[in-house]
């Protein structure tokens, strides 16, 4: 490559095209089906609504965004969406960590079976899953029937069509997203570290809090962010398990765009959802970054 000595010419580093070639197909896909539609949505959100499926893009107007932030109902929905996302993230992490920890101590076959159990919800369509929860939680569902039969209650409990049922339904589906990254980060910890810590006098709980937990931080972060992002964007589960009284932002987008055909409004709400999501994710990441005392952590 370097033929200075022979020809005396200044040698240039040959550009390696391989990385670009490898990334290109995905990049084109993302560009065509994500970036461009998103840009289009942004563009439409600044348009003026004329009639169902008709909008005027001649002038930029903020009316859709203003309408959104001035409608108390919409703000409530936004807050509800964030609240549910945060709760689902917290629960998935709290439930997922012990599950991942236990799984990391299993060997071979047992581990695979365990993994399959957590993956199982994903083998079922999301609508079918939601209906499964309906069977369990509705007023004449299995749980209420059992409680009534045992005379623990004398009127059925309202469990379905609440924020609680949405949260439960989402956790059911999202737990695996928390378990896997946490499992991976625990597995990546050098087993000799806990031997060393024990040898130096640490009890099993001290080993967990001083060694295992800190070293699995990145897995917790990754799992948490994935659950958060998926929950924010969740549509089917909240609609089926939340009912008309517990709407989430994604449903509003659907309502405006597909029912009322008010595309500028739908676009604006969609953008609000995307931006809130991105901002929160970035904020959490920054928070974690700031807590790293130095670059180049083990992970």
């Amino acid at each position: 490559m370097d033929n200075n000595a022979v020809t005396g010419r200044v040698s240039r580093k040959k550009i390696s095209w391989t990385p670009y070639v490898l990334v290109a197909p995905l990049f084109v896909l993302m560009l065509a089906f994500l970036i461009i539609p998103l840009m289009n949505t942004l563009y439409i959100s600044f348009a003026h609504y004329v009639a169902p499926a008709v909008y005027d893009t001649s002038a930029i107007t903020m009316e859709n965004y203003l309408k959104f932030f001035n409608t108390p109902n919409y703000i409530t929905t936004l807050v509800r969406t964030v609240r549910i996302s945060v709760l689902c993230t917290l629960f998935c992490l709290l439930l997922g960590y012990p599950a991942a920890y236990y799984m990391s101590k299993l060997s071979g076959k047992k581990q695979q079976i365990y993994l399959l159990v957590y993956l199982a919800p994903w083998l079922i369509n999301v609508v079918v899953k939601a209906f499964g929860w309906t069977l369990l939680l509705s007023s004449n569902g299995i749980i209420n029937d059992l409680l009534l039969y045992l005379h623990i209650i004398d009127r059925p409990l309202q469990m379905l069509f609440t924020e609680g049922s949405i949260t439960v339904g989402i956790i059911h589906g999202c737990l695996i997203f928390a378990v896997l990254p946490i499992y991976t980060s625990i597995k990546a910890i050098d087993p000799h570290l806990s031997y060393a810590a024990a040898n130096l006098g640490a009890t099993p709980s001290q080993i967990f809090f001083k060694i295992t937990l800190p070293l699995s931080r990145m897995g917790i972060l990754a799992g948490g962010l994935i659950v958060f992002a998926v929950t924010m964007a969740s549509y089917t589960t909240p609609v089926l398990l939340g009912g008309g009284r517990n709407r989430v932002l994604s449903f509003l987008v659907y309502e405006q765009s597909n029912r009322l055909m008010n595309w500028p409004m739908g676009a604006a709400i969609a953008l609000v959802l995307v931006i809130i999501g991105v901002v929160l994710v970035a904020a959490i990441q920054k928070f974690f970054e700031a807590n790293r005392r130095r670059r180049d952590l083990m992970e």
Partner: protein, 357 residues
């Protein structure tokens, strides 16, 4: 006696890792477990540390039975082959870890961390993280972390194996110096013979879970008690012979069908006429000479040189004697070097060889 193992055995499913191992170590001694991979030395060390419990047998530290004491309350401290430094903690925090577990107060911790960093000759690196340190520095920090808690016994699991040759030699010397300086009883596991010899007060050679011999490096090298030890710790020439007659404390033996006649000095293991033995002579104890004079008091044979290797400080020869290849190593002291094809004599005194039944 500081540390004692009595009849310790451990199996993993069908595999017997440690088989009836017993030894005792004195206070301040550096005792090595030496053997090939899979001989059970690391498993034994781990049982002393408490990571595994023996199936049978007991371990005593300072006359107290610690066999079933939990890992974190045993008075042992271990240094691992891959250092096992906590990557998310600074050097200071790593070293302070054991002291924190012992609930030493802050000023005491600061003082002791400083002292031990001076001992390992790395003052001032408290704020660095393991990733920023070289292998040699990491290993020294690992050693510091172990000794700062003032354990009764220091356990070293092949601590130098991950280092390159030059660093290994340097650190070896330092390790011995530190150990002697603080006078701590140490158990050292290795498969490297030179390392074990250079560091140890005494060595236990292990094979397939059993102890083959315990002794000082000199005892093990000069007076191996069985063929495995003899072959493991150095090169040797083997002559299978049968005893023909015995004259006082010298046995005369002959090789099968090759006309070889050897004199063997008898040691603690007596020989009788008709015994089949393997005579063992180390290459450095054989002399290659042009003329021989020891026929009466030693063994001398005609031979022809089939290989001559000049190695600077030494000359290594391969000679053909009575149908077998004998290896000879001689220091380069200025005497003439034999070349391939030369006829010569090889000789060794009766004290220079040993035998095994």
């Amino acid at each position: 006696m500081e540390l004692e193992l009595r009849g310790v055995s451990k199996s993993f499913e069908d595999f017997v890792a440690v088989d009836n191992v017993s030894f005792s170590i004195n206070k301040g001694e550096l005792f090595s477990l030496l053997g090939p991979s899979g001989c059970g030395k690391t498993t034994t060390l781990r049982m002393i540390a408490g990571f595994y419990a023996p199936d049978v047998g007991a371990i005593y530290l300072n006359k107290q039975n610690i066999t079933h004491q939990p890992v974190n309350r045993r008075g042992t401290a271990m240094v691992f082959q891959n250092y096992a430094l906590f990557p998310h903690m600074s050097v200071y925090e790593n070293i302070a870890f054991g002291l924190k577990m012992q609930k030493v107060e802050k000023s005491g911790i600061q003082k002791r961390v400083k002292e031990v960093l001076n001992l390992i000759q790395l003052p001032g690196i408290e704020t660095k993280y393991p990733k920023e340190l070289s292998g040699g520095m990491q290993q020294r920090v690992a050693i510091a972390r172990a000794i700062v808690i003032h354990p009764e016994v220091l356990l070293l699991d092949e601590p130098l194996s991950n280092l390159d040759a030059k660093l290994r030699e340097e650190l070896r010397l330092e390790l011995r110096e530190i150990q002697q300086k603080i006078g701590i009883t140490t158990v050292f596991v290795t498969h490297d013979i030179t390392e074990a010899f250079a560091l140890s007060d005494r060595i236990a050679v292990m094979q397939k879970g059993k102890i083959m011999q315990i002794g000082t490096p000199m005892e093990i090298y000069e007076k191996p008690e069985n063929e495995f030890v003899g072959a493991f710790v150095g090169k040797y020439n083997r002559f299978p012979v049968q005893v023909l007659e015995i004259q006082e404390d010298v046995a005369i033996a002959a090789g099968q069908g090759n006309g070889l006649k050897l004199k063997i000095k008898m040691n603690a293991t007596p020989l009788a006429v008709g015994d089949q033995v393997k005579v063992m002579v180390r290459p450095e104890r054989i002399r290659l000479v042009a003329r021989t004079a020891v026929t009466a008091t030693g063994n001398a044979f005609e031979a022809s040189v089939i290989g001559s290797y000049y190695l600077g400080t030494q000359n290594h020869y391969e000679v053909m004697m009575n149908g077998s290849v004998v290896r000879v190593e001689m220091a380069n002291d200025g005497s003439p070097i034999f070349e391939k094809g030369d006829r010569c004599y090889i000789e060794w005194g009766l004290e220079d060889g040993g035998y095994f039944k």
